[in-house]
């Protein structure tokens, strides 16, 4: 039971600035997922919390206590590593007991804690085995168990599922979630997988280039990305980005795409359109907000754009249709119901739902979203 507070944490390796002043507040019992591409500094951040790296400046507080200068073992934290880091010569039981023994905990208490953790993780029959004899999923559970028996104030996870195959990863995600609901302990979970972030996090922290891009609950991150980076990172397949300009036509605002087509911008927040009119902007639309709007012979409307089918990926109940749009290098991805029959080479009208779409202030990778509600908080929500 503890809060975790990072203030102005910076880290430099030689001349390379890895973290540019990170501020983050994790509430008691909250699971926060730090997500970002490799090299964005998320692992360094976690290692600073763990005490395996020391920050160049800034402080780390656990439950208000400044632990920046403390050894990892004195911080009352536990960490689960990507490669499990189980000692190969020790049995499962000894692996879990090692840290407790070093703490001079009485044998009976060690035993009780291991029994409890083993029950929680269904490892009772594996306690005498060596890590080598276990499957990947079981090893991961032992690594979890080793963290649990410590009864730490904060759990740290460093990409714990990335060594598992897809099916097992799904199962372990579920187990981690139930475990978190049960333990009610503060957790920091680092991953590059946005699906893990969406499913596990109470809140998600999106990082890029050593800076926090946005901190918010999964639904807010998904629906109100603060900038283009967040919009691109969260969601699979990713958001479509269509370059173009905003033009005013009477009362209505239109987004003129590079290829010549226009889409009417019916979104709620249009107050910042005027100041950005005429500039090179980017329209962001998620695949599920595009829809099959009939064949090209159908009359084009204010919200449809003509495109050509290039590739169709059938997923079962739905399909992803990759479309070519003139003036656009990247294919546009549309998610639609499988009963819409799309054949390669076919020209179709694509209906674009502009209400949930976003406009980004420039073609830059980190361009701000200018369609967020006026009172939307900056970065931290």
């Amino acid at each position: 039971m503890a809060t975790l507070t990072l203030s102005a944490v910076k880290k430099q390796f030689g001349a390379t600035q890895v973290l540019h002043g990170i501020d983050l507040e994790v509430a008691d019992g909250e699971m926060i997922v730090v997500v970002g591409a490799s090299g964005c500094g998320k692992s360094t951040l976690l290692r600073i919390v763990a005490g395996l790296e020391s920050p160049t400046s800034g402080t780390v507080r656990i439950d208000g206590r400044d632990v920046t200068k403390l050894e990892p073992a004195d911080r009352d934290i536990a960490m689960v590593f990507q490669n499990y880091a189980l000692y190969p010569h020790m049995s499962v039981y000894e692996n879990m007991a090692f840290g407790l023994k070093l703490r001079k905990m009485p044998r009976a208490e060690i035993h009780a804690r291991i029994e409890e953790a083993a029950r929680m993780l269904s490892l009772q029959s594996q306690l005498e085995k060596k890590p080598k004899q276990l499957s990947g999923g079981q090893r991961q559970r032992v690594a979890l168990g080793r963290a649990i028996v410590r009864h730490p104030k904060v759990f740290l996870f460093d990409e714990p599922l990335s060594n598992l195959d897809a099916k097992l990863r799904g199962e372990m995600r579920y187990e981690l979630k139930t475990l978190q609901q049960r333990l009610q302990t503060t957790m920091v979970y680092v991953t590059h997988d946005q699906i893990e972030a969406m499913t596990l996090g109470d809140r998600i922290t999106v990082m890029s280039h050593g800076e926090i891009q946005q901190v918010a609950a999964p639904t807010i991150i998904y629906d109100f990305p603060f900038n283009r980076f967040v919009a691109a990172f969260i969601g699979s397949p990713g958001m479509n980005f269509l370059p173009g300009r905003l033009v005013q036509d009477g009362d209505a605002w239109w987004f003129a795409l590079a290829g010549g087509a226009r889409v009417r911008m019916d979104m709620a927040e249009r107050s910042r359109f005027a100041e950005h009119a005429g500039k090179d902007l980017v329209l962001g639309v998620r695949p599920e907000h595009l829809a099959h709007g009939g064949f090209v012979t159908a009359a084009p409307s204010a919200t449809t754009v003509g495109m050509t089918v290039r590739v169709v990926e059938l997923m079962g109940d739905h399909q992803y249709v990759y479309l070519a749009l003139s003036g656009q290098d990247q294919p546009v991805v549309m998610k639609c119901n499988s009963h819409h029959r799309c054949t390669v080479g076919q020209q179709i009208q694509v209906h674009c739902d502009a209400a949930p779409a976003h406009v980004f202030a420039s073609t830059d990778e980190h361009a701000k979203n200018i369609t967020l509600p006026k009172d939307f908080p900056q970065i931290h929500a």
Partner: protein, 301 residues
């Protein structure tokens, strides 16, 4: 698909293939047999020679089958060093074997202990001059004992370690090779183990004792075999540093049994001594073979 009966041509081809295989198997066996003969024949001569009486070999005969003097020769070698005819030497072989055993075990264990610790320091600690230390160790690889034997001898004289077990062992006890091997092995230990140990609250010595050492056990065993034999076979250094008969090692002592030619050599006793001198290294290899192979081939991770 249509099945086709074997034609005469197919059968002939199959026979030719079988013949070729048989022939290459046969050649392989001949080669390996010759190899065994080359290596084993001198040992056979020694073994057989150690069972004859002194005059047989003295006459210049090389017997190929056992004689009747085995027990007498070995008893004589073991207890008196075969001094019936030459009263000049006569260190019992059991003393020489005991000295050799002490020296070889101390050298092997000492080398392992020192190189484990120095490799541990070089790999797991970052301190100023770490790479300098490593390279200094590495460079000594290129300087064998023979090259630095005169300064080493002088140092030992000044320390008063002439004619002592310490004088025998200490100059041979640091090993760049073993340090290098342990360093290479330690580099394969994942960083995450170190970090997990830090989270567990294990200090450097605890990590060494509870994680690094158990992981290195097969490597240690393999190195022990190599280093034991290295120590056992030491010749030049013991020859220089020890003149006291009570500290004679068997490899050196055996050559001292061979006289300068003014007297008849007791070849039967010398050969018995050679056989006895071979047994401990053979025993170590046989006993530790399983570990030895494991240590060289297997990584436990």
């Amino acid at each position: 698909m249509l099945m086709r009966d074997h034609t005469a041509e197919d059968i002939a081809l199959a026979r030719a293939a079988a013949r070729r295989q048989a022939r290459s198997r046969w050649i392989a066996h001949v080669v390996i047999g010759l190899g065994v003969l080359v290596f084993a024949f001198p040992i056979w001569i020694t073994l057989v020679g150690s069972t004859h009486e002194v005059n047989t070999i003295g006459r210049g005969e090389v017997p190929l089958w056992f004689g009747g003097q085995a027990v007498a020769n070995y008893v004589s070698a073991w207890f008196t060093g075969g001094a019936q005819t030459r009263m000049t030497l006569g260190v019992p072989v059991w003393i020489m074997l005991w000295n050799s055993l002490n020296m070889a075990v101390l050298i092997a264990l000492g080398k392992i202990a020192i190189s484990l610790l120095s490799a541990y320091a070089v790999v797991f600690f970052s301190f100023p001059g770490r790479m300098v230390c490593f390279w200094l160790i590495f460079i000594t690889l290129m300087l064998p004992v023979e090259v630095r034997i005169i300064p080493t001898f002088e140092v030992m004289v000044n320390l008063g370690l002439i004619n002592s077990m310490a004088g025998l062992v200490v100059p041979l006890v640091a090993s760049a090779t073993a340090t290098l091997l342990f360093r290479q092995f330690f580099l394969t230990i994942p960083d995450e183990f170190v970090e997990a140990a830090k989270m567990d609250g294990a200090g450097p010595l605890r990590f060494f004792k509870d994680v690094v050492l158990p992981l290195s056990i097969t490597n240690i065993a393999a190195l022990f075999v190599i280093l034991f034999i290295y120590g056992w076979n030491q010749y030049l250094w013991p020859l220089l540093i020890v003149s006291d008969k009570d500290l004679e090692t068997v490899v050196v002592g055996m050559t001292k049994m061979i006289g300068s030619g003014d007297q008849q050599n007791e070849w039967n006793i010398i050969m018995a001594t050679a056989v006895l001198a071979m047994l401990p290294p053979v025993a170590v290899v046989v006993f530790m073979q399983r570990w030895f192979v494991k240590g060289l081939t297997e990584t436990e991770k």
